[in-house]
């Protein structure tokens, strides 16, 4: 495993970034030139420059957002885990985030109501279902 642990995968290459920003700068210049050409009476040239400028801005913005989306897609999302604690005597229930060392049926802090020992009864993650597929159920 001779590779460096800090992966370069999550970083957009500086060359790509440079190309994006040069395109963006040229497109903005084209837009400025278009306004100058339009005020100078050269409507056709202004039209072409306007088209070129808008296309350039749109393309570079799209590529920039795509690069960012790729980085976000790569991240390993840590799901939130819920721990449910119950008092078997009085039925008091409390829900909190998972803490290292929690496990199902572990005895934890005394109950706030009856001071009896409380028990971890559930540890789970909730998944928000994406739009239900049109199933063949």
């Amino acid at each position: 495993m001779g590779e460096t642990p800090s992966s370069t995968t999550t970083r957009t290459s500086s060359f790509v970034l440079m190309i994006i920003f040069i395109t963006l700068a040229l497109s903005l210049t084209a837009l400025i030139l278009a306004t100058t050409a339009f005020s100078g009476g050269q409507e056709v040239t202004a039209g072409y420059l306007l088209l070129l400028g808008f296309l350039g801005v749109a393309a570079s913005t799209y590529v920039l957002f795509q690069a960012r989306r790729r980085i976000l897609r790569l991240r390993i999302a840590a799901p939130s885990i819920t721990t449910t604690i119950e008092c078997k005597k009085c039925g008091f229930k409390s829900v909190r985030d998972f803490q290292r060392g929690d496990y199902v049926f572990k005895e934890v802090e005394p109950c706030q109501k009856c001071s009896d020992k409380m028990l971890i009864t559930a540890i789970y993650r909730e998944v928000k279902e994406k739009e239900k597929e049109r199933s063949f159920s």
Binding site: M1, S7, I76, P79, I81, D102, V104, F105, A122, F136
Partner: protein, 380 residues
């Protein structure tokens, strides 16, 4: 003759530039150029697109693998408090391999495989103890599981990289195609392992522990004893029957050896067991709901097959009927933190087990209930 004239006319028509203007001429040239380029290089373009797709997945795999390694090292440093930097040892561990026994003569191969797996297990535990001297037993089990997940990610990355480079080197469409076509499934598995890594590092219950959770729910509140190997058992009265409930010892990441545990209980009772009910998490098919509970017959247990073989041998000796209850989930759910649906399904599985016992046994009978799966984050 007429036919020949018509053919020549068509040829001339096709070869001449349609329209007289320069724009049409350029378009026609471009069209012909594309036609011929795709005619001769179409497959190569397709191959390049596939290679690009594999390359993009390979980038993601490399990131996941590096993250896995980082999480494993950080967890070892945090929990194990080693005197020296464990990085080099972790890197060596990630490259470990296991050679399965020769099966040209299949007789006795299960015992050979069991021995190899035992050696592997002991070796892994010793390595973890060296890496993390301050870790207690539960943490050692969890660290071992964390390292195994990191190892799996490392292996997946290396296999995909192998086929990618081989495909690039040989420009063989079939090498590239086979990897590109299976890539979505491989990526799902890699993502599942990435999630598992965090769950193992934190000691959270995973979907695979569905069976162990059912057993834990049944045995909780009753006296437990250790059963070889790495299992715990409790004698629980259920519906007028005596149930021997078995699960892997928790809350550390451990699957135990249910085959040995079942054999021990059967021998202790001289084979007088009315039925065995095995509960396990099983892979669902697409379209099925996560947490669906189903029932059947047979030894519900995965893994390399050693325990299934032992269970089948034990029940055959005394002709003991075996029933199975499964909780359905996909590969991603099996190795990532337990979903609420699976947790809730444990209660449904308990009810189903009671129903099986009521229907299949008489009052006063002895039954064995085995909760199969990883006991990480699940006590007893």
């Amino acid at each position: 003759m007429n036919m020949l004239t018509a053919m020549t006319a068509l040829q001339n028509k096709l070869l001449q530039f349609p329209g007289g203007d320069i724009f049409s001429q350029i378009l026609t040239i471009v069209f012909y150029a594309f036609f011929f380029v795709f005619l001769f290089y179409g497959q190569r373009f397709q191959m390049q697109i596939m290679l690009r797709e594999v390359e993009s997945s390979l980038h993601k795999l490399r990131y996941i693998k590096d993250e896995g390694r980082k999480i494993a090292i950080e967890t070892i440093k945090e929990i194990g408090k080693p005197q020296t930097d464990p990085t080099a040892r972790v890197d060596r561990f990630l490259e470990y391999f296991t050679i399965t026994p020769q099966s040209l003569d299949p007789a006795g191969v299960v015992w050979k495989l069991e021995h190899i797996l035992d050696v592997r297990d002991v070796r892994f535990k010793d390595e973890v103890k060296l890496m993390a001297p301050s870790a207690d037993e539960t943490q050692t089990y969890n660290l071992e599981n964390t390292l195994e997940a990191a190892m799996a990610l490392n292996y997946i990355y290396k296999v995909i990289r192998h086929f990618y480079l081989l495909g690039k080197k040989t420009l063989s469409l079939y090498i590239i195609m086979q990897i590109q076509m299976t890539l979505p499934l491989i990526m799902r598995e890699a993502e599942a392992y990435a999630n598992a890594l965090k769950a193992f590092a934190h000691g959270q219950p995973i979907g695979d522990g569905g069976g162990a959770l059912v057993a834990a729910k049944l045995m909780h509140g009753y006296e437990t004893r250790k059963i070889p190997k790495d299992n715990v058992g409790a004698t629980v009265p259920i519906e007028g029957r005596t149930a021997y409930v078995i699960k892997a010892e928790g809350p550390g990441g451990n699957v135990g050896k249910p085959g040995d545990a079942i054999k021990t209980i059967i021998e202790e009772n001289e084979g007088k067991i009315a039925t065995i009910v095995m509960v396990d998490a099983a892979l669902k098919l697409e379209g099925e709901e996560v947490g669906e509970v189903a029932e059947g017959v047979g030894a519900a247990i995965g893994g390399p097959g050693v325990d299934q073989f032992k269970i089948e041998e034990s029940i055959l000796k005394y002709r003991i009927p075996i029933n199975a209850v499964i909780i359905k989930e996909d590969i991603g759910d099996a190795v990532s933190p337990m979903r609420k649906e699976i947790f809730d399904a444990a209660d449904k599985a308990v009810e189903r087990i009671k129903q099986v016992i009521l229907e299949r046994t008489k009052e006063g009978d002895k039954v064995i209930i085995v909760g199969v799966g990883n006991s990480i984050g699940i006590g007893q």
